[in-house]
Symmetry: C3
Subunit: 262 residues, 3 copies
Amino acid sequence: MKFLAATLASLVLATPVVAQGSAPMSTPLENTSTLSISDIQSVSPALGRYAKEDVAGLWQRPQLSRRDRSLVTVAILIARNQTLDLPHYINLALDSGVTPRELSEAITNLAFYAGWPNAMAAVAVTKDIFAQRRIGPDQLPAASPQLLPQNEQAEAIRVASVQRLLGTAAPGLGQYTTDPLFKDVWLRPDLSPRDRSLVTITSLMANGQVAQLGGHLNRALDNGLTQEQAGEVVTQIAFYAGWPNAFSAGPVVAEVFKGRSN
Amino acid sequence: MKFLAATLASLVLATPVVAQGSAPMSTPLENTSTLSISDIQSVSPALGRYAKEDVAGLWQRPQLSRRDRSLVTVAILIARNQTLDLPHYINLALDSGVTPRELSEAITNLAFYAGWPNAMAAVAVTKDIFAQRRIGPDQLPAASPQLLPQNEQAEAIRVASVQRLLGTAAPGLGQYTTDPLFKDVWLRPDLSPRDRSLVTITSLMANGQVAQLGGHLNRALDNGLTQEQAGEVVTQIAFYAGWPNAFSAGPVVAEVFKGRSN
Amino acid sequence: MKFLAATLASLVLATPVVAQGSAPMSTPLENTSTLSISDIQSVSPALGRYAKEDVAGLWQRPQLSRRDRSLVTVAILIARNQTLDLPHYINLALDSGVTPRELSEAITNLAFYAGWPNAMAAVAVTKDIFAQRRIGPDQLPAASPQLLPQNEQAEAIRVASVQRLLGTAAPGLGQYTTDPLFKDVWLRPDLSPRDRSLVTITSLMANGQVAQLGGHLNRALDNGLTQEQAGEVVTQIAFYAGWPNAFSAGPVVAEVFKGRSN
């Protein structure tokens, strides 16, 4: 009986994925939050309309795939420690092609870029979703996998830049930035460097941390993110982290694009 | 019986408003949080004293009406996603002359200026308060009301400024800023332009987003907010969003006032 | 029976402190969150490893005592309104030599530097911990204690600087900054000026508020914080408030150190 129930549960859970095949955009069109459209309308009929027209339209824009967009949105919510809608968007990400392995690595990355407590709050939500979906250790990255090779030249430039910024003021920060951050986290293979950069620039934009955005955006473009995709991340930021954060990021993004065209 | 219970409930809910007439300042004097003064004192006797002396005194200052102050405080809490005290201050706002229609529009506005997930968290709290107070669709703004006329000249200047800031880096952002943000949200009639500006500058100050503050403060003053009121918003920010955010906003506000006196 | 149960409960609660004597670093090594290591590993085996290796190692670094580090970490969580892990770290602070009196004052201080609602969220968590630990009014600071003497010269400089920044733009802010902030809060005796400065610079760094960091860091160093300790706060910020906030603070810290060596 227990086995049967488990099988049924897993079938039910699989349904959105199956349904997605035949009507791919139906879920986000009608559901832009853990809250229902009628809950939203009971406070703001206008937000109900914007949800159906503008937010749903946003998710259909071709400049960023639904998979990338869901990864970006999860990163925004974790970076800003907004847990109410996190279950909804983690499920949406897993239904949109973000693998458990990639989601695990994105949370790991955000422990460094948004803060350990943000990652813990994300773990608290995600562990239940993984349990419901029967995602076990075999679908997760190893704690210590074979690492990607490091670009020694870029790393030397990075170390010199940190040295210039900090001098001897915070030796612990310099040390941990080298190891584990750049000699371990950034070389982990279960999230592509392009996606790791995507999560990182999203976190920076989501919290208005534009001082570090230029360097990381250049790295993201070097890692294969296109300019069109990066510009669309700014648009996603507007809706999910507010217009002011998008308008702080936008001019930095424009400047980086300009610098690379020269 | 059910009808009787409902009537009794609505009478009980109406009591604070009635009581307010005879002893207008009693509630905020004794209650500056969802927590009771004795809860606060059980951790910090000092905060209990500051609540009674300074925070209560703040709410009595004439530079900003209690109605405006409660709208500003609700905007601060939503902008910073702080839901613990939100029910207390939403009730205070509704008891202080902010109409359900205005509150609904303020949340709608903050979906754009603070982020969609902040608005969803506010909706989750507000829908229960609206249900308790029997505030139904007839007391809410229409999803698509007749819009206010647009100031075409100001809008042309705004579009040019966005174009200058973003170039072609984030076309989606430029597009959504025009519509729905400036061709729809800002023209909705159920929150006055002055109040919409008040909510917007509050959100910017509450999150230390001073880069966009100058432009929006000028718009707020054009929309009828007085300089004395704007300066007092900074004071409210100090208590409810912390001194550093007030001291980031203060010099920008001083600069804008100076620019307008020349 | 009730008395016996209370005695037993208090013995159980005392256990970590006793155990700490014999194996001082065991708790933080295995427990870096309210979540268990196995919960963390069920989402990210990598974060489980970083918790055991890097975060545990961080807590053993001699540049900042475990007592200071726990005070700093509690301040980070309150400043960022992250309540999930707050009970864990408040208990850790109380087990590491932060007295209830000091914790109460730290929360009071953060009401001003991080915002009243952040302090209320901290009170909601702390009141239950104080009740469990039977920490009553006799272990808390007085609401109106005998204040420390004020440095009149430093205060005059501060007032002039506020006047220069704000002019007449926000008279309420100037007034409340003088009293209660600098004529009352900063002179309260139950948290040393060095610790009050430590909590204040931590709050500024945790929220990326670097504009006010220089002045407060100089005050912290004047109040007895060493440069090595201040640099290590930046390292703690990296882990608990994210790398970008540490890298925004780091150059300001380096600049202040440089300014004092000239």
